[in-house]
Symmetry: C2
Subunit: 124 residues, 2 copies
DNA sequence: GCTTGACAAGAAGATATCTTCCTATAAGGT
DNA sequence: ACCTTATAGGAAGATATCTTCTTGTCAAGC
């Protein structure tokens, strides 16, 4: 697919959006791949639009790009919960900036929206 | 299936046989569930005759009965290998006795075998 | 001999991460 | 305009343990 440098793909933007969401939303500022997959699947209304492999690769890319950072969950926590260890991700400030930029870039200009509204056409 | 007390089921006997095998065979006297499943599947010539759930339940039974003991693999080892932690099992002496008894009990008596041979009927 | 109930078998799936392999597509060069 | 190629997408599966739910069967009691 060869990407234009500095551009976010749809999936990556979704991931960052969720990442910012958990960051702002209280609780813990961290999330893990599996939970992310469920969130996206839920949001998408469908059954796992994104396969796990694809998601983990995207997470790796984002981390390589410095938009996410990760650490392994403590042994004790995973064991107490009786499940495999998770890898916990967190948005970096660069990541926050990237998603903000992406959103504003993909938002139609205000004039266009106003014009559409004037003609009874609601923006998606 | 309600078992006669003190009797080994087929699957359990197979597990113990493998356990004794690794014990005697050198290397490490320990084995883990997943590897066991592969061994049994290989031996059985077929594709996973025993589902994983069934196998882990049988392992639990054998441990409860004191025929096997188990411990969790060290974190470091699993991590170095890049895989989930294994649970390592080992036959106890009671287990060794049990499988020995089971084998001798299911073996047809010598007289019977000789008699069968005498009539040209090979024992299964 | 017949019924009943305990318990094993197996399917299915939850939990989590990551790799390999093939395909499809868009970005960039000519 | 066209072709090449890097790379994203997705399927599939490896790695490991364990739970839940249903079905089936054997042993024991009557």
């Amino acid at each position: 697919m060869r990407r234009k440098p500095g551009q976010l793909l749809d999936l990556e933007a979704q991931i960052l959006a969720v990442a910012v969401d958990v960051l702002v939303g209280g609780d813990s500022p961290e999330f893990h791949g599996f939970g992310l997959a469920k969130r996206i699947a839920d949001r998408e209304g469908s059954q796992r639009l994104t396969s796990h492999g694809t998601l983990y690769k995207a997470l790796g890319r984002l981390e390589d790009a410095g938009l996410l950072s990760s650490r392994w969950e403590d042994h004790e926590v995973a064991e107490a919960a009786g499940r495999p260890r998770r890898r916990l991700y967190r948005v970096s400030s660069a990541g926050q900036a990237a998603i903000a930029l992406h959103v504003s870039a993909s938002q139609p200009a205000l004039d266009d929206r106003t014009a559409a509204f004037g003609q009874g056409i609601e923006p998606a």
